[in-house]
């Protein structure tokens, strides 16, 4: 029943948009036309024009996600287990996190050029802090009973790290997976939009430059679809990796 309402709502919104564009109430110059947007998307996939751009954007997303997660886990474990280093670095971390990092995009473009490097760098800065703070929290909240219990079973310091701290931290990483994958994607697209020669963000930038609002919306539609696919993959990965966690039942439509 719920899915029926959903489809009806989507049809209603797109229908209103279509009527508005058709009658001229919504200026096609600013709001585009649903049919033209759909045709543009189809055209991109039919000619294959979109594939190289999509591949670039997704590769950047993946690299930013992987490097940001790895960096965040390492830094989080280190500072979580070394309160003194954390105390020293705390104000720097707060400052770096509070800074609007999107503004780093032009600097990364100068440092790493207009290719993938600068996009991965921006995505990294976005993903890193999410993962870092989650791992830090995870390490600090390891149950002292579990820790002492594992020590009494004869675990060495290295074994504690591998069998207690890391799994505890990873559970927090997984719980932030949706946000961090999303951020990697945002980082890639924004950096492309601010300066690049390929990628879906670049396509949108080009279209905007010639007031081709239909192509801008088509680009947005493709990006949204990609984000949804990524989110679904994350949900599947989560349910496999976190079997050991008690889960609140996610409401499902019947």
């Amino acid at each position: 029943m719920i899915s029926v309402y959903r489809v009806a709502l989507a049809a209603l919104l797109i229908g209103l948009w279509y009527v508005g564009a058709q009658t001229g109430v919504l200026s096609p110059l600013f709001f585009g036309h649903p049919t033209k947007i759909a045709l543009q998307v189809v055209d991109w996939f039919r000619t294959g024009e979109i594939y190289p751009h999509l591949a670039v954007t997704l590769t950047e997303t993946l690299l930013a996600f992987a490097s940001g997660t790895a960096g965040g886990v390492l830094a989080g474990l280190w500072l979580g287990l070394s309160p003194r280093s954390l105390a020293v670095l705390d104000p720097f971390i707060k400052a770096a996190n509070a800074m609007p990092r999107v503004i780093l995009a032009p600097i990364f473009a100068m440092w790493f050029g207009l290719g993938m490097g600068s996009k991965v760098a921006l995505g990294f800065t976005l993903v890193f802090f999410i993962v870092f703070f989650n791992v830090l929290q995870g390490v600090r909240e390891v149950s002292p009973v579990v820790l002492n219990g594992t020590r009494m079973l004869g675990a060495t310091r290295a074994q504690l790290l591998r069998h207690v701290y890391l799994p505890a931290a990873m559970s927090w990483v997984f719980s932030s997976l949706h946000v961090s994958v999303g951020m990697a994607f945002v980082g890639a697209v924004i950096a492309e939009y601010l300066g690049s020669y390929r990628g879906v963000g670049y396509l949108i930038l080009q279209a905007q430059g010639v007031f081709d609002v239909d192509s801008v919306f088509a680009g947005i539609a493709v990006l949204t679809a990609c984000a949804l696919v990524l989110d679904t993959i994350v949900t599947l990965a989560e349910s496999r990796l976190l079997v050991w966690q008690p889960r609140a039942d996610i409401p499902r439509d019947s």
Binding site: S143, V146, T150, M152, L153, W244
Partner: protein
């Protein structure tokens, strides 16, 4: 040589003296319970024996050797959940052997055998959150006993269980202990509880701790009830009730002291 020996053990945290010169010896194969008012520092005594805590002064010896760092001769059954939540029951039980360098397959086979002995046959694939409190305690027991430690330290291990499960677990603990819990000689058990009935029904000896701060043992009672015992039935025997009355006479004053301090504070 005593299995565990505390001599004038003092533990201070800042200005607070938790343990004030505790002396106590536990002989090999003996089952000793320590009772005392809530919050008097009973767990501190266990943490000293486990090597998780060092005394501010005095000595703690385990099988004749001074305890320095985690005591490898002791297994510890905690009051709370000490199972690793990200490991199945079987992998939790197999953890000790794996830490000691036993191969994974061999460790898992040992774990399965131990799960069976504590009544968790076929539950090895379950994660802690999928098990009841009683099952988790059984898994903890298997996790500790698989390493066959000569000394068992138990910190109110059954206090979170419902009464029926608790009586059952106490009987099973006694059976495992009398059978040598792994094959060899009987283990030395230091059992902490605030429940006097539990202490009497399980132990060879009951030690009463004074009210905190500066807790120390003030009295001890030999329990010469016949073994094997059924912890549920033994409570109704006259011998049990006389012993209970004698110990409670001492314990009551300490409980009242703690209570008055709590009310005054």
């Amino acid at each position: 040589m005593s299995a565990l020996e505390f001599r004038d053990a003092v533990v201070r945290f800042g200005d607070a003296t938790i343990l004030g010169g505790a002396s106590l010896a536990v002989e090999p194969g003996e089952f000793v319970s320590v009772v005392g008012p809530t919050g008097c520092g009973k767990s501190t005594l266990l943490n000293l024996a486990a090597g998780l805590l060092m005394p501010s002064s005095g000595t703690v010896r385990s099988l004749g050797k001074p305890v320095a760092g985690v005591n490898r001769e002791a297994g510890y059954l905690f009051q709370g959940d000490s199972l690793m939540p990200w490991r199945s029951a079987r992998d939790n039980v197999a953890a000790g052997p794996i830490f000691a360098g036993v191969g994974k397959a061999e460790a898992r086979a040992q774990a399965e055998a131990w799960l069976e002995r504590v009544g968790l046959h076929g539950a090895g694939h379950k994660y802690p959150h999928q098990m009841s409190g009683g099952m988790r305690k059984r898994a903890q027991l298997a996790q500790t006993l698989i390493l066959d430690p000569p000394i068992l330290l138990m910190d109110e291990p059954f206090s979170a269980l419902d009464v029926q499960t608790r009586l059952m677990m106490e009987n099973e603990l006694l059976a495992l202990w009398q059978g040598g819990g792994g094959g060899g000689a009987r283990k030395t058990v230091l059992f902490i509880t605030h429940d006097l009935e539990e202490a009497i029904s399980l132990s060879d000896r009951v030690v009463v701790l004074s009210a905190g701060p500066s807790t120390r043992p003030i009295a001890e009672f030999a329990i010469d009830l016949p073994r094997p015992r059924d912890v549920a039935e033994i409570r109704h025997t006259p011998a049990f009730q006389t012993t209970h009355a004698r110990i409670w006479d001492v314990l009551r004053d300490e409980v009242l002291k703690t209570y008055r301090r709590g009310v005054a504070a």
